[in-house]
C-alpha cells in the first residue's frame, strides 16, 4: 500500500497521480490521507521514482473536471479521482460520465462544488467599514464566510468584477482573500487578524436591509419549507436576516396570514386619494 499526502493541493496530487499512472500502480494499492497514518492497514511503500513506462492519454476535459471535483471536502477525496483517472486512462471513458457509479459520484461532487461557489456569491455579506478605519486598514468591506468546500480561491474573482476599485476581504475558518482594488491576495491560511476584522466589524446601518427583508415577505404565502430547501441552515448564522425568520414565520402563523401586508405597515394611518385628482401634485402630499 502506498500512502500519500498531497496537502489537499490539486497540483501536488496531479504530479503524484501522473507518476503512479506511469508505473501502472492500481488504485486499490494507493491511499491519500491528511496524515499518513490515516489508514491503519496501510504499510507504507515508497512511491517509485521517475515517470514510469506507461504514457497515458486522457481527454483534456477530464483534467478540468478532476480539478473541480478535487475542491470537494469529503471521504476518499483524492482516491476517488485517481480511480476515475485510472479507468479513463485505460480506455473506459464511462468512468467520467454521470451514468456510471464512479462517474456519477465525481459529477455529484462537481455539482456540489459549483453549488458551493454559488453559495459564496449569494450569501457572503460585506460590512462597510467606517471611513477612518477604512483609511487606516486600506479596506472598505469585510466579510466572514464558512464554505463547505475549498472554493474561495477559484470563486472569489467574482467579487473583483462586482466591486470595482473597492478594497475588500473575505475570511473563512481555513483560508482568506484580500483585494486591494488591483490584485487578489489569496492565503491558504487566513491571517488571524483578517478574521478578527471580519468577525468584529460594527454595522450601524444594518437596519435598512433588515427593514427591506421584513417588508418584502408576503405572510399570506408563508412557505418555510421552500426557504429551508433553498437556503441551507448553516448559512443563516452569518446572514443578518437569519434571526428575523422565526419571528416572521411566527407572526404569519398567528393570524398575519389573511393578507400580504407587513404588520408595521398595517399599523400606520392610511391615505385614500380623491378620485379625479389628476391635478394633484404628489409633492404637496403630506407624506
Amino acid at each position: 500500500m502506498i500512502a500519500l499526502d498531497c496537502g489537499d493541493d490539486f497540483a501536488t496530487w496531479r504530479d503524484q497521480a501522473r507518476q503512479l499512472l506511469g508505473h501502472g500502480i492500481d488504485p486499490a494499492t494507493v491511499t491519500w490521507g491528511q496524515a499518513r497514518m490515516d489508514d491503519l492497514l496501510a504499510v507504507p511503500t515508497p512511491l517509485p521514482a521517475g515517470t514510469g513506462p506507461f504514457r497515458a492519454r486522457v481527454p483534456a476535459a477530464l483534467l478540468a473536471q478532476l480539478e473541480q471535483a478535487g475542491r470537494y471536502r469529503g471521504e476518499q477525496r483524492w482516491n476517488l479521482l485517481y480511480e476515475v483517472l485510472w479507468r479513463v486512462a485505460h480506455g473506459d471513458r464511462t468512468a467520467m460520465l454521470a451514468g456510471d457509479r464512479l462517474g456519477s459520484e465525481m459529477q455529484r461532487r462537481i455539482r456540489q462544488v459549483g453549488r458551493e461557489a454559488h453559495h459564496l456569491h449569494a450569501f457572503v455579506r460585506f460590512v462597510p467599514l467606517p471611513e477612518a478605519l477604512a483609511e487606516q486598514l486600506q479596506l472598505d468591506l469585510v466579510a466572514y464566510h464558512e464554505p463547505a468546500h475549498d472554493i474561495l480561491d477559484s470563486a472569489c474573482g467574482h467579487f473583483a468584477d462586482r466591486l470595482g476599485r473597492q478594497r475588500w476581504l473575505i475570511a473563512t475558518p481555513l483560508d482568506g482573500v484580500r483585494f486591494d482594488g488591483q490584485h487578489l491576495d489569496y492565503r491558504r491560511q487566513c491571517p488571524e487578524q483578517w478574521r478578527q476584522w471580519a468577525r468584529n466589524a460594527e454595522d450601524p446601518d444594518a437596519e435598512l436591509w433588515l427593514a427591506y427583508y421584513r417588508h418584502a415577505f408576503n405572510p399570506a404565502r408563508l412557505n418555510p419549507g421552500a426557504l429551508r430547501q433553498h437556503l441551507p441552515g448553516r448559512f443563516l448564522r452569518h446572514l443578518p436576516e437569519g434571526p428575523l425568520i422565526p419571528e416572521l414565520v411566527g407572526q404569519a402563523r398567528h393570524g398575519k396570514q389573511r393578507d400580504g401586508q407587513a404588520l408595521e405597515v398595517g399599523r400606520q394611518r392610511g391615505k385614500r386619494i380623491a378620485s379625479g385628482s389628476h391635478s394633484t401634485n404628489p409633492n404637496e402630499l403630506n407624506l
Binding site: 462586482r162 466591486l163 470595482g164 417588508h215 401586508q261
Partner: protein
C-alpha cells in the same frame, strides 16, 4: 419621513409583483474600473424570505401614490394604505448600499401612476440614468414600463435597463374593464411591441447600443377573475410568439387589506400557480403547445403535473425506448428532465443504457417507469389503463377543512 420608514412602505407595496429574476444580462465587469457592479447572465438569489421566494433585486416602488383604481391592487387610489415617495437619489443610495453589501444583484423599480404616465416613466428613467451614468452602476436594472407612456420614453428606458416589463395583469379585455378601468389591453400590447421593435432593431448588430438585453417579461394575476388556465396559457403562448417575451409570471391573487368586494376574499390555491409555472416551462423549454397541455379541459389538473398528464393522455406514444428515441421525445417522458436527456444522449454514445443508469442519473423513476424501455427493462404496467396509473401516481392533496359557513 425617514428613509427607513419609506423603505418599509414602498417595499411592502411592491411585493405583489412576483418577478425577481436577475438572469440574462450580458457580461459586464467593474474589475479595476470606477463604478460598481457586474453581470454574467446568471441570476443570483441573495436570500429567501419565509414565503420561499428569492431575493435577488431591491424591489420597490418609487411611490405608492396612484391615480388608478385597479381593484386587485393594494395601492389603488381608494385603498387605505400609508403612502410614501422616494426621491430618485434615495433609491440610488439604497441600491448602491445593498449592492456593496452583496445583499442584491440590482434594482427592480416600479411606481404608482402620478400626474401622468409620461411623468411617471420619466421618474423611473431618472433613477436608472443616475445609476448608470453618474455612479457607473453595471449591475442589473429592471424597470416597470407604464403602458401609456410615450414610445420615446420607453425606448430610452430600454437603453438603460436590462429588462423591461409591462404587466398584463388580467388576460381578458372584459376583466380589465371591470377591475382595472384605467387600463386598456390595446395600450399594454402597444408598449410590448415598442419594446419588441427596439430589441429587433439591435438584434444581430453587436456594435449597436444594447436594448433590454435580458428581454421583456409580464405578469398575470391568477384567481382575481374567472379566467381559466387554458385562456392564461394560450395568452402566454401568443405573447412568447408575438412579442418575443422572455417570461410570463403568474401571480396567485394575494388577498389585500381593506379588499373591495369586486375581488375574491380568499387566495386561489398556490398549487394552481405552481402548475401554471410548470406548464409554462413546458411551453418555453420542451416545445409543448398550449393546446396539447389543455385539450378539452379548461384547467390544469392539480393532483398531477402537466407533463405526466400529457403522457397519460397520449399513451400511444409510450413506452419509449431510451436507447433509440429522439431527444425531443425523451424529454416528454415524465420524470426525465432536460438535463437527464443530455446525459442519456452522451451515455448512449458510449454504450447501451440500462435501468440502473436511470437510477444513477437520479431520474424520477416512480413517474418514468411505466413509460420507458431500456436494454434490460420493459414496463409491466404498459397495459395498465391511464386511469389506474393516475390513481397510483397522483400527489397527495392536503386535506381541505370544511368551511364553517358551507
Amino acid at each position: 419621513m425617514q428613509l427607513i420608514a419609506k423603505l418599509g412602505i414602498l417595499a411592502d407595496a411592491a411585493k405583489y409583483d412576483a418577478s425577481c429574476a436577475s438572469s440574462g444580462a450580458p457580461k459586464r465587469s467593474s474589475r479595476g474600473r470606477d463604478g460598481l457592479g457586474a453581470t454574467d447572465g446568471m441570476g443570483i438569489c441573495h436570500s429567501y424570505t419565509p414565503d420561499g421566494r428569492c431575493v435577488s433585486l431591491l424591489k420597490v416602488l418609487l411611490t405608492n401614490f396612484c391615480l388608478y383604481d385597479c381593484q386587485y391592487c393594494v395601492n389603488r387610489r381608494s385603498s387605505n394604505v400609508p403612502r410614501a415617495r422616494f426621491s430618485p437619489e434615495e433609491v440610488v443610495r439604497l441600491t448602491l448600499d445593498f449592492y456593496r453589501r452583496n445583499c442584491i444583484s440590482g434594482l427592480f423599480l416600479s411606481s404608482g401612476i402620478i400626474r401622468s404616465a409620461d411623468y411617471t416613466m420619466e421618474q423611473l428613467i431618472r433613477v436608472a440614468s443616475l445609476l448608470r451614468e453618474e455612479h457607473g452602476f453595471r449591475g442589473y436594472i429592471h424597470l416597470k414600463t407604464i403602458p401609456d407612456a410615450d414610445p420615446l420614453l420607453i425606448e430610452e428606458a430600454g437603453r438603460l435597463a436590462d429588462r423591461l416589463s409591462v404587466n398584463i395583469e388580467l388576460p381578458t379585455d372584459a376583466s380589465l374593464e371591470r377591475l382595472a378601468p384605467e387600463k386598456r389591453a390595446s395600450t399594454i400590447r402597444q408598449a410590448m411591441s415598442v419594446i419588441h421593435h427596439g430589441q429587433q432593431a439591435v438584434a444581430g448588430e453587436p456594435r449597436a447600443p444594447r436594448f433590454t438585453p435580458a428581454g421583456q417579461s409580464t405578469q398575470v394575476i391568477v384567481g382575481a377573475d374567472a379566467t381559466d388556465d387554458s385562456a392564461l396559457l394560450r395568452n402566454a403562448e401568443s405573447l412568447y410568439q408575438g412579442y418575443g417575451l422572455r417570461r410570463v409570471y403568474y401571480s396567485a391573487f394575494s388577498p389585500i387589506p381593506d379588499s373591495p368586494s369586486s375581488v375574491p376574499l380568499a387566495a386561489p390555491p398556490l398549487l394552481r400557480e405552481h402548475r401554471l409555472y410548470q406548464a409554462d416551462f413546458l411551453l418555453r423549454g420542451y416545445g409543448y403547445k398550449a393546446g396539447e397541455l389543455l385539450g378539452e379541459t379548461g384547467n390544469l389538473a392539480l393532483d398531477i403535473d402537466p407533463k405526466l398528464a400529457w403522457a397519460l393522455a397520449n399513451r400511444e406514444v409510450f413506452p419509449l425506448d431510451v436507447n433509440r428515441a429522439e431527444p425531443a421525445l425523451l424529454a416528454r417522458i415524465p420524470g426525465i428532465g432536460l438535463r437527464s436527456v443530455q446525459r442519456l444522449v452522451a451515455l448512449r454514445r458510449e454504450r447501451r443504457i440500462r435501468y440502473d443508469d436511470l437510477i444513477q442519473l437520479r431520474c424520477v423513476l416512480d413517474k418514468a417507469r411505466p413509460f420507458i424501455v431500456t436494454s434490460d427493462y420493459r414496463p409491466a404496467q404498459a397495459e395498465l389503463r391511464s386511469g389506474l396509473l393516475r390513481a397510483r401516481l397522483r400527489e397527495p392533496q392536503a386535506p381541505v377543512q370544511m368551511g364553517l359557513w358551507g
